[in-house]
C-alpha cells in the first residue's frame, strides 16, 4: 500500500455514489494526498461544492464540508473566506456547475483573486441528470439533449479562468494521478485564486453515447490527447489540433483580495 486514505475519509461513506469507472474517485484520492502533503489541519479546511456528480465529493471527506446549490460553490466559498480568511477554502464542481449555471460566480472569483483553490472536474457532460450536453461537450459529440450531435461551441475552462484574471491556472487529467496531486499542492500554495481543471472520464453519461465506453479507454484517451505545456509551446498549430496542454498554464502574482481589502479599509 502506497498511501492510507482512511485518515481523511468519513467512516461508512465509501463506496461512493459514482458509477463504475468514473474518474472522480481518482481525483478525490489525488486531492487527499495533496492536502496531506501540504499538512493542513482538517479543522482548518473548508470544502464547498455545488450540485452534480463532482459536488458529492465533500460528503466523503472529513473536513468542514458545504454541499450547496447548483453553481454556487464559489459564492458560498467567498462568503466563508471573507468572513474568516484563516480557513483554507477549496471549492469544487463539474463543468456544468462551474461554467454554465455557476459561470458568473466563476469569472468573478477569478477576477477578485481571492485566496480560494477551485477544482473544476471536466467530464464534458452533465452526468447526474443522465448525459445532457454541457459548455465543454465537444462540438459534434452526442448527448441525450444533442441526439444529432452537439451544435454548441465549447468553453476552454483554463483559458476562461486566465482571461477572467485567475492568477494560477493548471490543467491535468485522471491519467496523470501523481502530477495531479503535485499541481493541486501548487494550487494550494499559491496566494490568490487558483484553479485546476481536471479532465475526467464519464463512461456512463458521455462514453456510452460517443463510443468511448471503456473507462480505461477514456483514461488512455486522456494520455494520448494531452501534451505537457513545455512541449505544447513548441508545437505547430497543425500538431496541436485535437490535443490540449496540461501542467501549469498560468502563474502570476497579484494582490490577494482579502489582504487588499483589509489594507484598503484599515483592517490589517
Amino acid at each position: 500500500m502506497s498511501y492510507d486514505y482512511s485518515k481523511y475519509l468519513r467512516k461508512g461513506k465509501i463506496p461512493h455514489i459514482w458509477c463504475p469507472g468514473c474518474g472522480y474517485g481518482i481525483i478525490m484520492k489525488s486531492m487527499i494526498r495533496a492536502i496531506d502533503s501540504i499538512g493542513w489541519e482538517k479543522d482548518d479546511v473548508v470544502m464547498t461544492s455545488g450540485i452534480g456528480c463532482a459536488s458529492r465529493l465533500p460528503g466523503y471527506v472529513d473536513f468542514n464540508t458545504l454541499h450547496t446549490t447548483h453553481g454556487r460553490s464559489l459564492a458560498f466559498a467567498t462568503g466563508v473566506k471573507v468572513a474568516n480568511p484563516k480557513l483554507n477554502v477549496i471549492a469544487m464542481g463539474g463543468d456544468g456547475d462551474m461554467t454554465a449555471i455557476g459561470g458568473n460566480h466563476f469569472i468573478h472569483a477569478c477576477r477578485r483573486n481571492i485566496n480560494i483553490t477551485c477544482f473544476v472536474f471536466n467530464n464534458f457532460i452533465y452526468g447526474m441528470t443522465g448525459g445532457q450536453y454541457s459548455p465543454t461537450t465537444p462540438k459534434g459529440s452526442r448527448a441525450t439533449t444533442a441526439p444529432f450531435g452537439n451544435s454548441d461551441n465549447q468553453f476552454d475552462i483554463a483559458q476562461l479562468a486566465i482571461g477572467a484574471g485567475a492568477t494560477f491556472v493548471a490543467r491535468t487529467t485522471t491519467y496523470h494521478a501523481v502530477p495531479m496531486e503535485k499541481l493541486m499542492k501548487q494550487a494550494f500554495e499559491h496566494k490568490g485564486f487558483s484553479i485546476v481543471e481536471i479532465i475526467a472520464g464519464c463512461p456512463t453519461g458521455y462514453g456510452r453515447k460517443n463510443k468511448l465506453a471503456s473507462p480505461a479507454g477514456m483514461i488512455e484517451w486522456q494520455k494520448e490527447h494531452s501534451v505537457a505545456i513545455a512541449q505544447w509551446e513548441k508545437m505547430s498549430e497543425e500538431e496541436k489540433a485535437g490535443k490540449f496542454p496540461i501542467g501549469v498554464l498560468h502563474d502570476v502574482e497579484k494582490p490577494e483580495y482579502v489582504e487588499a481589502y483589509d489594507a484598503n479599509v484599515g483592517l490589517s
Binding site: M1, W18, P20, G21, C22, G25, I26, A177, S214, P215
Partner: protein, 64 residues
Amino acid sequence: MAKAEKIEIYVNLCKGCEICVELCPVDALEMKDFKAAVKDLDKCIACMQCELRCPDFAIEVYKK
C-alpha cells in the same frame, strides 16, 4: 525490478470498471465474476498504477 508481496482487492468496494486490469503494464490482473482479481502475483512489478487509478479505494499493492 520491484516486486509485490501482496495485492489486496476489496471485492465489496470494487465496481468492476476494469481500469486496473486494462492499465496494468504486465498483465498481472484479470476480471473474475465482474470484479478485479489477481491473475499472477509474480508478474507484478509494484508500479502502483492500478492502486493510483482505482476510483473506488478497492485495490492496494504491498511492495516486497
